[in-house]
Symmetry: C2
Subunit: 260 residues, 2 copies
């Protein structure tokens, strides 16, 4: 990464957010102040003050005794609002439920984050396994159904930029790692109207995605269905592709038609 730019950040705010990150990485057990301070490069006293402020707002939870810092409920509250505030998420939720129920697969909604897919909503199906799909972080643009769909309906310069900065890392034998091959694949997506991930990100896992547009034709995000290849009927992903497309089109119509 060629060091994007130094937009003169506010140091103490950056420190506080670094603290959050360290605590998040620590996991369930939390961190003590002594191991936190050096990891963010501050004196104990300074880190204590910042952490205390975060805790006062509910972003951290201080667990007694032997104070251990964990993530606080405020993050959950705000995170929930992110989903809720997206007009897309609102209209998509019931449709995700329908999809999950009728297909038995895991249905998800990804938003277009500057060319990358970010899952913001998930409804598990009744299937055997449960995918620990993390919400809120950028997923592979080239190896997921949702990612391919978003790229397919993005302007070419953006596609090139995403490929340039993210690369095309190989996850499985089927992962597309050649830019030209990916461009062909995107063309195919535009042709059939939905994207397929055939064990390209994870062995044994397949996924289909379909695009959602706003009134200007910009791709807002993608709906996707994920399942185990072993669970698929012999006729492949075709029926599921049709189902996500139909559902995504319904969302598109609602978004375009409904005010606000």
């Amino acid at each position: 990464m060629p060091n994007t730019e130094p937009p003169s950040l506010v140091k103490s705010v950056a420190h506080a957010l670094d603290i959050l990150d360290v605590v998040a990485r620590a996991g369930d057990s939390g961190v003590t102040l002594a191991e936190l301070a050096p990891r963010v490069g501050m004196a104990k006293s300074s880190a204590s003050a910042s952490a205390r402020t975060l805790a006062h707002y509910g972003f951290l939870h201080i667990e007694m005794p032997g104070p251990r810092f964990k993530l606080g409920f405020a993050l959950l509250r705000y995170g929930d609002q992110v989903t809720r505030q997206t007009s897309l998420g609102q209209v998509a939720l019931p449709i995700l439920h329908e999809l999950a129920e009728s297909t038995g697969l895991t249905a998800r909604l990804a938003l277009n984050d500057d060319g990358y897919p970010v899952f913001v909503e998930r409804v598990d199906g009744h299937g055997s396994v449960r995918f620990h799909a993390t919400l809120g972080q950028r997923e592979s643009p080239h190896a997921t159904g949702a990612g391919k769909v978003i790229l397919a309906y993005s302007p070419t310069p953006l596609v090139r930029r995403v490929i340039g900065e993210h690369g095309l890392p190989r996850y499985t034998d089927s992962t597309i790692t050649e830019p030209d091959a990916l461009m062909d694949e995107l063309e195919r997506v535009r042709l059939v109207g939905f994207g397929v991930d055939n064990e390209e990100e994870s062995d044994g896992v397949v996924c289909v995605g379909a695009p959602v547009f706003d009134h200007l034709g910009t791709c807002l995000g993608a709906l996707s269905l994920t399942g185990l290849k072993a669970d698929l009927a012999s006729d492949g992903v075709g029926p599921y592709g049709a189902a996500v497309m139909e559902a995504a089109q319904r969302i598109t119509r609602t978004v375009q038609g409904g005010r606000r």
Copy 2:
């Protein structure tokens, strides 16, 4: 509220978190810098620097053109981790799915946040309505199934403190507003093993909750089932009470037995 204490907060961090709060309240449409700055009591330039820092970490999303600030995906990511990092949330999720599926009601897991119930996980049932239960914020301790359960298994001084600071606000005709009546109700909860909210928080909505304990017998939180009274069979909430209790006990056993 008698102004708890001024624990000497870090001003710039507090400002940044205030900004997040303002943006969150703004909703889907976001806020512009001009309306944000006065609302947090800062100069435009200062607010801009803070907001920019938040955006750099993904806590805010700057939407062009006419820069509008919205909540960023990082909040979603961290919020998701809060759920995931709770060992409870991990083991509870599949059980919530079971409950929602077998009863058709909305199943939720609340954690004990110093005597208050905070919902951290939710699985909707197939029922007619969908409850917009917000995650991550303190709910009524005296008017929800989960809240009553948590209070019922908390030490009396804590119960008194919660009643003192939260009061017993009336939401419906059935809300318990007298401390003595609430204490009797808690006794009843301990007797039958689960708590009932019979249209006490919202007309037409009923709810049952059952406790989850750790290995020391501390109440970690509560499982709850919520549905419309109109949808209930003639035999009332009894069967559901038995179901949540059984599920909660299974979680308790897993938590107590499992290492980590």
